[in-house]
């Protein structure tokens, strides 16, 4: 009897997604899908608004990475007032960068400590009551406490610049509206009120030590689980090093051949198209030249480790070298290495924040530049989850006539579907009874990409979990439900 398994929604991710796995009469997987089933449509309803509202409006896409949307929109809006990234004042550029790295730091901390660590600490087959951060709090207090304080540090950097931890306002067309106060800087440096930036660097190194040990102990699983060939996309600086705020787009294929050779972010439309499927609201971006079937790319920490020549901060670069050496310097296509890559980025962000906090430019009041208005602006940054594109067109009165958003999670759409297929074929197919641990492995595979489904489709995000088994006639024959 044919069956269909549905996991609805996937838990410990941001937003609402659903997985269906179709089994034939022998319990063998026929097909599987990761559906994104809700839609909010910011691209449409931002039309008609004045351009200067965009950085404020679009950050409401998300409560986890509003800074990423704010800054990607700000970069695009800068262009509408005739300012390219290199034209910003040093203060504006560095304040944006500080906020951006604070954002990535807190978002990565949230993902690793709150969402992913239960799977690593207790195992994918652990009882469901242990697969949450509360169990981590009971059994690994030090880890949980550091996770909270690291996230807090990043959030407070954001608050110091934008006025609020979530949905604050910092960027204005052509610059920033507020500089950093010497007292604020002291707060992050002196360690009197909160653990300081040096402690953040030390803790980042400690947690990398933990993940390296985890990889040593679980190498076979981590090398093989949801491993599949794919392209990798990200941003690099002028010499090919990792860059998260502004640089050029680079993509490689699964064995390292360049498929997108350090092109200007302004030219993204020349290289990318977006496919659609009737079973998902989330689009499928791909490189035009390679085509829909093979031109898709992973984005995010793992992709960034794969595409960059080096990381421009010493401690993180040392860790990157250890990371690539661990797998023989080959392109890493193993999904679960994303966690290690994410933690290297946490260290990199801490190092960059340390540099910026010691830079007197962040105290300057020279914050805004003006230029000659244009009718089109493109802003691309590396958000925590990967390459994020905001593109606006305006009329002569400055009202937005077109908005195109390619959100990081959208790039990972095909990769997450491939990851689900891998688990379906290797863990669930022809195994008889379907256990809770098996289902969690589907989620573990998706969770490694830290998807933000709300960003990608602007869904509202209720997350009970539902599993349904269907026979080949489409009749429901079994059902499991986890509610909130």
């Amino acid at each position: 009897m044919k069956k269909k398994i549905t996991i609805d929604p996937v838990t410990r991710v941001e937003g609402h997604g659903r997985v269906t796995i179709h089994l034939d009469e022998y319990g063998k997987v026929e097909d599987s899908f990761f559906h994104i089933v809700e839609f909010r449509g910011f691209e449409r309803f931002i039309q008609g608004h004045p351009y200067w509202e965009a950085p404020v409006l679009v950050q409401r896409l998300c409560g986890i990475c509003p800074v990423s949307h704010h800054l990607a929109a700000a970069k695009a809006i800068d262009q509408l007032v005739g300012i390219d990234p290199e034209d910003l004042t040093p203060a504006a550029f560095k304040l944006r960068k500080l906020m951006h790295y604070g954002q990535i730091f807190q978002s990565h901390a949230l993902h690793f400590f709150y969402l992913a660590s239960p799977d690593l600490l207790f195992g994918m087959d652990a009882p469901v009551e242990k697969r949450n951060v509360f169990a981590v709090a009971v059994e690994n207090k030090e880890l949980a406490r550091k996770g909270i304080l690291m996230r807090k540090f990043g959030q407070e950097i954001i608050q110091a610049i934008a006025g609020k931890k979530i949905h604050g306002v910092a960027a204005v067309p052509g610059g920033m509206h507020k500089t950093f106060d010497p007292k604020e800087r002291e707060y992050f440096l002196n360690g009197k009120d909160i653990p300081n930036i040096k402690t953040m660097i030390e803790w980042s190194q400690e947690i990398i030590g933990f993940i390296k040990g985890y990889h040593e102990k679980n190498r076979v699983l981590l090398d093989t689980f949801a491993a599949f060939p794919s392209g990798h996309l990200g941003m690099v600086d002028d010499v090919g090093n990792l860059e998260l705020y502004h640089g050029k787009l680079r993509a490689i294929d699964s064995i390292g051949n360049i498929t997108l050779p350090d092109v200007s972010t302004n030219d993204y439309q020349k290289y990318f198209l977006e496919g659609v499927e009737r079973w998902s609201y989330m689009k499928f971006p791909y490189l035009k030249e390679i085509g829909r079937e093979k031109g898709w790319n992973r984005v995010g920490p793992l992709a960034r480790m794969n595409i960059c020549n080096a990381i421009p901060t010493p401690l993180a670069e040392k860790e990157r070298q250890a990371f690539v050496a661990f797998t023989g310097k080959k392109v890493n296509n193993s999904t679960l290495y994303s966690h290690w890559a994410r933690l290297i980025e946490i260290l990199h962000c801490a190092e960059v924040m340390n540099e910026l906090l010691h830079d007197d430019d962040i105290l300057s009041n020279d914050l805004v530049r003006e230029g000659k208005p244009r009718l089109e602006g493109i802003g691309i940054i590396e958000a925590p989850r990967g390459t994020l594109t905001h593109h606006y067109q305006v009329d002569e009165k400055g009202m937005i006539t077109r908005c195109n958003l390619i959100v990081s999670t959208t790039h990972n759409n095909e990769a997450m579907n491939q990851a689900v297929k891998w688990v379906a074929n290797n863990v669930i197919s022809q195994k008889g009874a379907i256990t809770d641990g098996m289902l969690n492995q589907v989620e573990v595979a998706i969770r490694a990409y830290d998807p933000c489904l709300s960003c990608a489709t602007q869904a509202l995000g209720q997350m009970p979990l539902k599993l349904e088994l269907y026979n080949h006639s489409g009749e429901l024959i079994d059902e499991r439900y986890k509610s909130n």
Binding site: E129, V133, F134, K141, A144, A160, N484
Partner: protein, 162 residues
């Protein structure tokens, strides 16, 4: 970015949303008492999160003010918040009991917790309270003003009301 040396002994966290009709009750509650910043620190929240455990760990007493769907005889209820772990499906939306429990587990502090729950009936996209919520809000405010006065009096008075 509160300095621990500057914090008051009591924190009031208002949970809610001005844009969702009666869900504004928690925020309006702290608006009403904002003039008592000599006694209280205030925080507005859409929802409680894990890091709020670190925040409440700095206080002796925490009051969570929130709207409630539950019908209440007096239109509001002020009661002890007993720390307890709860298995919520999302870590973005904790209840006050869990926040206090996490503060105990992770920071080894035991702030006393209270919940001010005020009954509301409307939750749609709308600014402004329903008539019933407005009425309940006034009762809760009257009660809490009295409670605040007793807080500044000798401890026996405050104890009596709880």
């Amino acid at each position: 970015m509160n300095d621990i040396n500057q914090t008051k002994k009591t924190l009031i966290i208002g949970i809610g949303n001005y844009g969702r009709a009666d869900d504004a009750l928690g925020w309006k509650f702290i608006d009403e008492f904002s003039y008592r910043d000599d006694l209280y620190d205030f925080e507005y929240r859409y929802q409680l999160q894990i890091e709020d455990a670190e925040l409440v760990s700095k206080y002796e007493k925490v009051i969570f003010a929130d709207a409630s769907h539950q019908p209440m005889e007096e239109g509001f209820s002020f009661y002890n918040c007993v720390p307890a772990p709860t298995s919520a499906f999302t870590t973005h939306q904790l209840n006050p009991e869990t926040v206090l429990w996490l503060a105990q587990e992770l920071f080894y502090v035991y702030p006393r917790g209270f919940i001010m729950a005020i009954e509301g009936t409307h939750w749609e996209l709308h600014q402004g309270l329903s008539d019933l919520a407005e009425e309940n809000f006034k009762k809760a405010i009257a009660f809490f003003k009295d409670y605040s006065k007793k807080l500044t009096a000798p401890p026996r008075s405050a104890k009596a009301i709880l």
